[in-house]
Symmetry: C2
Amino acid sequence: MYIPKHFGAPSDEAIEVLIKTFPLANLLTACADEPSGWTVNPVPVGLFEPLAKGSRLWAHVARANPLWEGLADQPQAILMFNGPSAYITPNAYPSKQATHRVVPTYNYTAVQLTGRLTVHHDAAVKQDIVERLTNYHEREQPVPWSINEAPADYLQAMLKAIVGLEFTVETTQAKWKVSQNRPTADQQGVIADLERRQDLAATAQMAALVRQTTS
Amino acid sequence: MYIPKHFGAPSDEAIEVLIKTFPLANLLTACADEPSGWTVNPVPVGLFEPLAKGSRLWAHVARANPLWEGLADQPQAILMFNGPSAYITPNAYPSKQATHRVVPTYNYTAVQLTGRLTVHHDAAVKQDIVERLTNYHEREQPVPWSINEAPADYLQAMLKAIVGLEFTVETTQAKWKVSQNRPTADQQGVIADLERRQDLAATAQMAALVRQTTS
């Protein structure tokens, strides 16, 4: 990922917050069946320790997902986490009126991790991954759902249907393209323009998509 | 991308709407400097014709972005478009109370295009790409900004600082993971749960990120 100096992440903490707030990463793995030699799968990923070289992230995918088959031992992989993004119109810049020396852009944040993947088939390891991910995602539920609520036979069948994924970090690249290269007045204009928009949250957009397929 | 039959896209139109609504794609290209051999860059992409094998999408990146350097002629590339996503708690399913045979999941939509990349250095081609992307993104502005508002010398300098990208589609894979595998009552529960949440829209989240870097 190309990252000009002025578009670096503000802090290590900001990078961890992005990963934890937008945990559905695009996982890139080698795939002999694809013309490019690579394939991409959206996968919810858990980070349960400080992010550094050697730290590990956890996930699981359907056993029927062929991504884990035919991989080399501990193959190279990429996790791409994408934060919020928004088109920025030149109309949002007060400087437009003064100089007209402005062009549109797109603001976004993203974290690209490179590292190595380990595939887990052991039921206890898989259950541990599922529990940690569940506890993380249920943390704000009034009554968090627990894996123990599921009947044991059902849980074992579910665990058989997945494989666990462990991603060990080698490099971290983070890009914060959030108008740092604009004068303060333009930054204020961008904030005001973004806050004026009436876009739906992802949850409301997803509700509409679920409704579309049920009608 | 692994796509079980029940998680296919509802229509070709839905796929095009996703690309046009979430145009910031992750562009995967070969990169000798990366340990994996590939790199990822978020890039706003324009689709201005029906999506099919052979149709083209358009983008531009900073000339200083090394992604276009050292590539083979018309190299393989991947564009990954991600629609809205949301964690789905088992608490949202009425069937939980009846059987407890439920587990959490993540809903999302995604479109993975594979194809070939052409890099453009010609100023006229680059200006045409910028104009088409600008006109698309400005379509809902009360007074759409036009590239002609920028002074000619400034525009030429801006065009020199970018390279144009043309992506020719070879394959399209689309995944709609939106609770189609749940009974109707559970789908209704998911919709109600998602609509109850008070998440911010991406525009409001981006406004907060811009504010963080200005304070």
